[in-house]
């Protein structure tokens, strides 16, 4: 009977893939902005991963492999139709202005630490959600999941240069957004 061989697949899959559920769900939640879609996305990801588990090479990064599947499903199914036009012309000037502004409340010996400890989880999540989708994906994979640019390029299926510019632009937009929140909270002086 091939029964034993069959039943070892779920346990191998459990050891390699199911252990990453927390991380996979967190990424899905950041991608979809919505709890139900995130659950569906994660479930679909795991089922697809299970079906194609024979293609996973043991010893390679299973979390990256799962996230690649997740990204593919997301891009094909859940991604927003409306795309924001990309404008990078003012990026440097914007970065310059932003950096100056972030330095402005430089009154305490360690101003940033005290500033950022007051920005709450919900605001950070909201700030991430305001990022256009492709910047958001790249920033989440880099900031939250700690993948290198090479790994992100592979997960998203785009060129390294594209990853670089998306992360740079995304980080700029994220900081702008967080700065807005900080200003609304009165943590920054104009």
């Amino acid at each position: 009977m091939p029964e034993e061989r069959l039943s070892s697949k779920p346990s191998e899959f459990e050891k390699a893939a199911l252990v990453h559920l927390n991380s996979v769900f967190a990424v899905a939640r950041r991608m979809t902005k919505n709890q139900t879609d995130a659950e569906d996305l994660v479930q679909e990801t795991y089922l697809k991963a299970y079906r194609f588990f024979h293609r996973f090479q043991p010893g390679t990064n299973c979390r990256a492999w799962l996230l690649r599947i997740l990204t593919n499903i997301f891009i094909n199914k859940y991604r927003q139709k409306a795309r924001e036009p990309q404008s990078v012309e003012f990026q440097q000037a914007e970065d310059y202005r932003l950096n100056q502004q972030l330095l402005a409340p430089n009154r305490n010996p360690d101003p940033e630490e005290s500033l950022w400890s007051q920005v709450g989880e919900e605001q950070i999540k909201k700030a991430l959600e305001t990022l256009p989708e492709e910047f958001r994906l790249a920033v989440v994979l880099c900031f939250v999941e700690g993948f290198s640019y090479d790994e992100i390029a592979e997960i998203l299926g785009v060129r390294l240069g594209t990853v670089k510019s998306r992360i740079h632009r995304g980080r700029l937009l994220l900081k702008t957004q967080l700065l807005n929140y900080a200003q609304q909270m009165g943590l920054l002086k104009e």
Binding site: L18, L47, Q100
Partner: protein, 264 residues
């Protein structure tokens, strides 16, 4: 602050994102050492990154999600035993032989059945087939227009009752067309059950077979017809090049049934 600051920072962000050695960007590194503003801004960037990671990396996984995933995987795992039946499919080494046998025997059975003989050769053939699966540990779920007759056959030939249940005329009417109305002779197409899933595979030997009452859907390159009957989902398709109409019925979510067909 100068433009070269912006450029140096951009490079240093890449260094920190990729955990590279700072020496890999010597110019930016030199600039940084001489520029307190950039040092502050780089520290700030790392602080933002840290804050974002700390405040978003953990997300409470909804209660039940893991269980649901495990259950769906278990369902899929239950499905894989169907591959045991896949040698019956056209195109497999024994496929043509088995299909031809099914065709011939089916036609025989139709003939014999209309002459009102429930103990037909096809029924016997099919039961022997199923007896094999039972010896391999599968649970057999039999539907028959003559459950008592089926049970008797099992007691005599295998040594226990098959607990057949009565097959209602037209119960699976949706599944087939004119020639597969499941009006009685289909008791031979009893179903195997493992876990909570039971599946049966049919091949109807003609493209002319009409598929009634099902919605047409194009999935991949296949034209499929889908429908449901009670808790069973049904999918039917035509193998143009093989002049066959096939259908599959299972107590499974339609998506999974379709996935299975897609993998066939």
């Amino acid at each position: 602050m100068k433009m070269e600051c912006t450029e140096a920072l951009r490079e240093m962000y890449e260094v920190s994102d990729n955990r590279l050695a700072p020496q890999s960007r010597p110019e930016a590194q030199i600039h940084l050492e001489e520029c307190p503003n950039c040092q502050n801004l780089l520290r700030l960037d790392q602080l933002v990154k840290k804050t974002v990671r700390q405040k978003t990396a953990t997300e409470t996984v909804p209660v039940g999600l893991e269980t649901r995933i495990r259950q769906r995987i278990q369902d899929l795992e239950n499905l894989t035993w169907q591959k045991k039946l896949s040698w019956l499919l056209p195109g497999r080494p024994w496929g043509w032989v088995s299909t031809a046998t099914v065709m011939i025997v089916t036609l025989l059975v139709i003939g014999i059945w209309t002459l009102s003989s429930p103990e037909s050769g096809f029924v016997q053939w099919s039961f022997e087939e199923h007896a094999e699966y039972i010896r391999e540990g599968f649970k057999l779920e039999l539907v028959s227009s003559d459950p008592a007759g089926v049970d008797d056959w099992f007691k005599q030939n295998i040594g226990f009752s098959a607990d057949a249940r009565r097959f209602q005329k037209g119960e699976f009417q949706l599944m087939g067309g004119k020639k597969m109305k499941f009006a009685g002779m289909t008791s031979a197409l009893a179903c195997l059950k493992k876990g909570e899933v039971w599946v049966s595979f049919y091949a109807v030997p003609s493209l002319e077979t009409e598929i009634k009452g099902l919605l047409e859907e194009k999935i991949g390159t296949k034209n499929l017809w889908v429908g449901s009957e009670g808790k069973f989902n049904i999918v039917a398709w035509k193998e143009e090049d093989k002049n066959l109409t096939c259908s599959l019925v299972a107590e499974l979510p339609q998506q999974e049934l379709l996935a299975f067909v897609g993998l066939l």
